[in-house]
Amino acid sequence: MSRPVDPEGLAARFIDLEKHETTHDRQVWGMRQNRDKAVADVPEWANLRELASQIKEHTLTHLDQYLEQFEQNATKHGTHVHWACDAEEHNTLVHDILQAHGVKSLIKSKSMLQEECGMTPYLQKRGIEVTESDLGERIQQLSNEPPSHIVVPAVHKLRSDVAAIFAKDIGTDPKDSDPHHLTEAMRQAARPRFMAADAGMTGANFAVAETGGFVVCTNEGNADMGASLPPLQIASIGVEKLIPRAQDLGVFIRMLSRSALGSPITQFTSHFHGPRRGGELHVVLVDNTRSERLGSADFWHALKCIRCGACMNTCPVYRRAGGLSYGATYSGPIGVILDPGFNLEKYREIPFHSSLCGSCSEVCPVKIDIADQIYKWRRVVAEKGLLKLSKKVGMSAIGVVLSQPKLFHAGESVVEQTLPHMPRFLLYNQLNPWGKHREVPAAPGQTFRQWYLKNRRKNP
């Protein structure tokens, strides 16, 4: 049995770093605000959302056909197409390709799928030097941490943290935390790695069945550098990334970066159809639980996700707790509904790392019912008997009280009379996580029921 990750404990650690929490909250909420401005600029946004949702649902309900079509067309362009059932097969396949080409050093751009597969540690153990080329992802690699956000991987770090990491790794002045200087220093340090790399790897944001190509969106242009310098390029693509036609890209590209950062498009939107002149291109199509999820009436809609991160930016829990508190590859609301699908026992606490406010469902560009799915995962956890003891005890007590009105009203009056006189240690102790970082608001002079009986009963 896997040990469950403890989002509460991990979140507490982040919240205790007060400056980190406030900076993180401000920055992530800023992305949400930029998203709102960008969306307001597109009067047809509601139509786009509906279209995007329908195109994804259509593709997923015909996924076998589109996968075959993609393979056929990609092969026509000279792309080598491989298939991997799970993470291990993906890693083995990639390693085999790299070995066959005598690759010693690999430069890669950000890929959540490669994170999910644990590819980098796998390759490093086998003697291949792997360099993340996205700045945020490189910061995370040097910190030995997974990305905390799917678009901005190091968003939970302060500039001073980055200065300390770069000072150690690339010899910058530890006292200089100017983001311009740090970014320039990493540019200088990364260039030789790009030049020396024997292979480049990317993920894919979209794979187009009709054309047999795939699209990678970055802001740094790092995927394009990794694809255009070494003679060998490999892309890892989850089977859910398929879309039918080139013209469908118009819908998704218009939505992706507006939802993510509030810009109309990423700086680079790169289309790969076959190897570049003199190069070789491999694509690995990865299942890794996706086909199984497709068969789940409650959860298959999560496969529509285009990884924009809008749900994370709007989530009150994510903003305060930080992405590492999920202890999983995917964080934020989308992580809450993806992670338990990979390992229910390990991630059984994650569905409770949410206030169920529903804001995620509202901002999702492909209309995934995220909040509903969070609730449904809670039910799955309860049905499998995986609820934490404290939740079980609390829930059954609540069940008894709520099913007996007399007991509930008696309880209300007791709380009303005793709360103002309760010693602090009774409210703010280790047994009550709600008492951490929170003060109980002053109780009103009467309960709602008392007010109602007094004011409304007499004039119906």
Partner: protein, 203 residues
């Protein structure tokens, strides 16, 4: 059974029901962009993405603009007839040899107003790495070749015609350290669009 067949069989077994039809025309009904000429729209969005643009009257003006903007450039690699460079580029060149390029000069055939983006393919770049290894990128663009939205752009492009094609909207950028926007993270530090119709060579 191969992994391919296992995955396809598992997908088939698990296809959600009922099947959802494909929307006929993904080009959405959109409100026309009123009150602003398309060129101004493009220029405004490009600037918001960190790029800049200049209308130049002719080839001489284009050359003068490049000289004015990059007075200290040592290596200029141009693949357009309008602007002479100092470095020759042939398709067979090893892309690593472009690491010394200060300014790359290319021509895009499509601009997209709503994104402030230009479309560049392997045919336009000659060697793909030119677009990202150059310290600065200059892109010539015919103002008549600007379309309004990404839908329009995809409607004009045949993706299968080139192994590589990129919409570039401004220079390389990052906000990975505390959200501070910085240009020149990995690719070009600046992107300049010179608005100029292609030169006609008669005979």
């Amino acid at each position: 059974m191969s992994s391919r067949d296992i995955i396809l069989a598992s997908v088939r077994n698990n296809l959600p029901q009922p099947a959802v039809p494909l929307p006929e025309n993904p080009e959405v009904q959109r409100s026309p962009h009123v009150g602003e000429p398309i060129l101004a729209y493009f220029q405004r969005e490009l600037e918001a993405m960190g790029g800049r643009s200049f209308e130049v009257a002719d080839t001489t003006a284009a050359q003068a603009k490049v000289a004015e903007l990059f007075p200290t450039a040592k290596v200029i690699c141009s693949v357009v007839p309008e602007v002479p460079g100092t470095k020759q580029l042939e398709a067979a060149l090893d892309p690593h040899d472009l690491n010394d390029v200060d300014v790359g000069v290319v021509r895009s055939r499509i601009g997209v107003a709503e994104a402030g983006a230009v479309w560049l393919t392997e045919a336009d770049l000659v060697v793909n790495a030119l677009g990202v290894l150059s310290q600065h990128l200059v892109v010539l663009l015919d103002p008549a070749a600007i379309v309004e939205t990404m839908h329009d752009a995809y409607g004009q492009i045949d993706l299968t015609a080139s192994s590589y094609g990129v919409f570039m909207a401004g220079p390389s950028a990052t906000g990975d350290i505390e959200g501070v926007i910085i240009h020149g993270a990995q690719g070009a530090r600046s992107m300049t669009v010179l608005l100029l119709a292609p030169k006609r060579f008669d005979g």
